[in-house]
Symmetry: D2
Subunit: 333 residues, 4 copies
């Protein structure tokens, strides 16, 4: 059984069904009946008017958002292990025509007000240095930690104070919301977030993510840039159908809860080995080479995470019964 990443998991049957159901002739691009329901569906979820654009990857969602927030001569503050810095082949620099990421440290890949403030104060206020125009955080973080609404709001206040736009990379936003049991609104726009990359691919969709603009003034340019970046698919209804299926009857939340629950079972078994608290669906734990080999010998696979440690990610399709054998194997090490 594979615990490499939730982004390789299967597509949920209801998503598949929705895609099948969308297979009639309709208007191209985002003029179809499915795409035109997105704004309303996400507005309901977020309890306010939002603009929702489908895109096929998290990188596209992140960078279309950031391209509207920072210009070529400006900078974006993010964690030094943020996905936009470490795993997107420089996409933010490409999309913005050169804007720089200002890397900031923080426990568990989370940013604090203090850390951001310090990073800001390190910028000389002259034209020789890029001035920060935006802040981007990842929720759940790259180490599977979640931000509470209060933590986000504190950062949101700082952004408002310093004139920064505020972006949230929510590749695992569903897991974060499921874990914090808050309303999606509480941890986003009510806390000052201007745009959210709302991930669905890691949570049961095939290739549809939602880029949500709370600051709807940013949406218009993003629609043009989506086309300019080659992300406006001809048969957009198949992306919209995925998103609508995920929102339907809170499938997104159910899936995230399942993944989180599976992770909790593993975390219980690995209590003494945990490198980070397990708050969502990722487990980082110490594991010797011999131990890793033993687990692999027993049929479980996952990523090594540097020497002597490992990363395991659970997915929406991992049922408790699926992970218990692995939990037992870990406990028995």
């Amino acid at each position: 059984m594979r615990f490499f990443s939730d982004n390789a998991a299967t597509v949920h049957p209801m998503v598949m069904d929705a895609m099948m159901a969308a297979n009639g002739v309709d208007t191209a691009y985002d003029g179809d009946a499915w795409s035109r329901r997105l704004d309303a569906a996400f507005s309901q979820l977020f309890e306010r008017d939002v603009c929702a654009l489908w895109v096929s990857t998290g990188t596209a969602a992140n960078c279309l958002a950031l391209a509207g927030m920072a210009r070529s001569h400006q900078a974006i503050i993010c964690h030094q292990e943020a996905h936009i810095e470490v795993d997107e082949c420089g996409a933010p620099g490409f999309y913005t025509g050169g804007a720089k990421l200002l890397l900031t440290p923080g426990e568990g890949a989370k940013l604090t007000v203090e850390a951001v403030r310090q990073r800001l104060s390190a910028i000389r206020d002259d034209v020789h240095q890029m001035q920060a125009a935006a802040l981007s955080i990842t929720n759940a973080s790259e180490y599977g930690l979640i931000y509470t609404p209060d933590e986000v709001a504190a950062l949101g206040d700082l952004c408002a104070d310093r004139g920064l736009k505020f972006h949230m990379d929510g590749a695992r936003f569903a897991n974060a919301v499921a874990a914090s049991r808050c309303a999606p609104a509480d941890v986003t726009w009510r806390a000052g977030v201007d745009a959210l990359s709302f991930g669905f691919v890691k949570n049961g969709a095939m290739n549809a993510e939602a880029l949500i603009f709370f600051d709807t003034d940013l949406a218009d340019a993003a629609r043009y840039r989506r086309k300019q970046a080659g992300h406006l698919q001809s048969k957009g209804r198949f992306l919209a159908a995925q998103l609508l299926a995920m929102l339907s009857d809170d499938l997104w939340l159910d899936n995230a809860r399942a993944a989180n629950a599976a992770a909790a079972i593993l975390a219980d078994a690995a209590q003494d080995r945990l490198l980070h608290p397990v708050e969502a669906n990722e487990i980082f734990m110490s594991l010797s080479a011999a131990e890793a080999a033993a687990l692999r010998g027993a049929g479980f696979d996952f990523y090594d995470w540097g020497e002597g440690s490992a990363r395991l990610v659970t997915s929406w399709h991992h049922k408790a019964a699926d992970v218990r054998p692995l939990a037992a194997a870990i406990a028995a090490l």
Copy 2:
């Protein structure tokens, strides 16, 4: 019945089936079993080693190709009505960091050696003007005309002579090959083409196009740029599965033939009205406002194409029986 565009048509059932069949856990991105078969499958089709990358749109395919051919300070020659100029919101300029399209006229949106030579000779050979680094043609053209292998080869010779890279936008490459009854190799690399945007979305796929590199040296950078542009999907197997299904038993060719055949029926009926020869699956014809209204009243829809003319596009799913009523209606005008 809708004749707006083949890019809004339905997805072929065999493609859908292949996507369903790909819905198991596998390696993410393009490390899966499907994606890894692409190079071989397309190499067989093209009778030589090629590199084949899936992407989700034709714009992405075009611009990832062009970004490897022209740098920021260089130019790309294309037809003045080329899709990359008219319908991609400036994507080539964005992907190249500023390269310019040098617009060239030509009957039926086709370029001739003479026209390209003339455009080249209009460039002053000094640093104040961007020098051409690539040529891009569309086959079938934006007006549904096809290039013969000889015509492509003549342009290929010119490119070789002037040190230009040669790109073919093949959004409707299948229709062109079906129409010209040549081998895919004859109208591409044997004629000097370095990279081909091989379209499938307009021909029965959902959201998978193939970017084919005959000059395989260009492929490595394109893989990085695909990631950087946010086009490396997590579950790439669903794109690869579409392409493999399309190649299987020449489905791509059957579909294109069907669309072309449907267009031929309409063209026959509209003989006196045709603005361009109908060689693939697009019909451009003169049609007064009253005539257009009459057809629409009879249940057929399509784009107006400026005043007094219309564009109709047939798709893989249009059977002869489907289009005959429209043909009759046109003939009866």
Copy 3:
């Protein structure tokens, strides 16, 4: 005697003197005493508060202005023979990260309201085409014609109406003002211009142009971009000193008048040959190869301008006595 271009002319002695006088130790970049006087000096000239930045070339001035007016996914309307299109190696595309120039025809390289309106109306209002964000005109135009205040104001009204920013490339602004005998304000901000590339190099300076922002909100980003583009010189006082010397006692206007007067003498002599009215300091005239050879044999040199015609440009240092022999030679052809 050379009549190739005013941009190869000598530097006026008073400019040289001012540069010598600036050769003391001072603060680097634009923190020196000279640079800090620029805003006030140009504000006085333009009868309102402006921001004035020195840069060393017209291309830099044009593109720093345009980069603040159009984003990567937007377009800039200009004449099809505008310097930014024809002679800057794609600088606008580079500076904006891909914005496109929408080429528009017009007699004598001038744009009319009607022509701009027509170009605007040719843009489809959807995300597949770049929407116009700015208009750029050249005054005096590339063919040496000037815009009257009324002509500029008509374009300014159109810009206001359509939400376009308005840029003027004034590489030969001095010649235009001298010719039209209007106040600099009348043909710029009072007519709706947001930013002006105010050229001095062609008019007696060495390597200092002024980028003038009437819409001062655009200036802040331009200061950062000037640095980012490598245009913030360490010893900026030598650029500022040139500009201040040019403004002093209306040297800029005297120089432009001298160049215009010299051109008028030539124009008189070439009356029957003129391809464009001579309103500033450029003469475009029909001239056979034999005639051109004759003039060159007599010691006058200039550019051929396509077959059978020639361009002659007069400069600030051409005195009436200098050009009379050429006028006589032309008249005698």
Copy 4:
């Protein structure tokens, strides 16, 4: 007396004279007699064929070089306090369309083979991370340290081994050569350097730097990009004249020696306070607020460098007699 920076120093009289002498009519841009002598003059200095382009700033020189070495999806290794990272407002990202600087630590702002190797090995070899394409070092470094020919050659070997292009930011190259008493060739192309930003502005020129290509294949694109970036001045002869004057009779070396000698006098006096060895013309020393105030009270000015320390930079025009009073004042603290 000011010790802020050598980039605010005066222009050497022989440079001024050369500029005066260049004030005749000549061909525009770089077609003039002075510019055309540059390749030969620098080829002689470097004992091999080189291409030499004038530009007006070090940022332009650095980034025109880097833009030819790394593409949008690639990375450039440099010191974490390199000028290109800290003081150029993100110019490398702008010029390359998004390439990233990979920051590397090192004593005194110098890079070692070991540090570069470590930084390289931290890059995952997959498309999710930008791969390094170039290395850039600064000589003399941002803390005034110099690289020996052997140190450069060791880095050059590493570059050759890993397929990296090698750039040297020589804003204070003259001071470095003067200090190391090596041939310019020894510390550049003989040690594997492909391109050098050869600074003159900090060493007595007004606004001319030389971009030297040892890998002359890179020069052609750089010439186009210089124009595209707005750095091709109309009256280029005034830049070329500065460079030729600086090369004449080794003025560049004499000036650098003078600055270094002045720094040595101060370093002697500040021996116990030095934060870095003084090898060229910069002194970094500990200095309390009270001590700084005392020196300023005595008429000497300089930059604070964080709390409790200061940076002093000597220039070509500082004679021994000029700096002795300051040396005495420091010694007396």
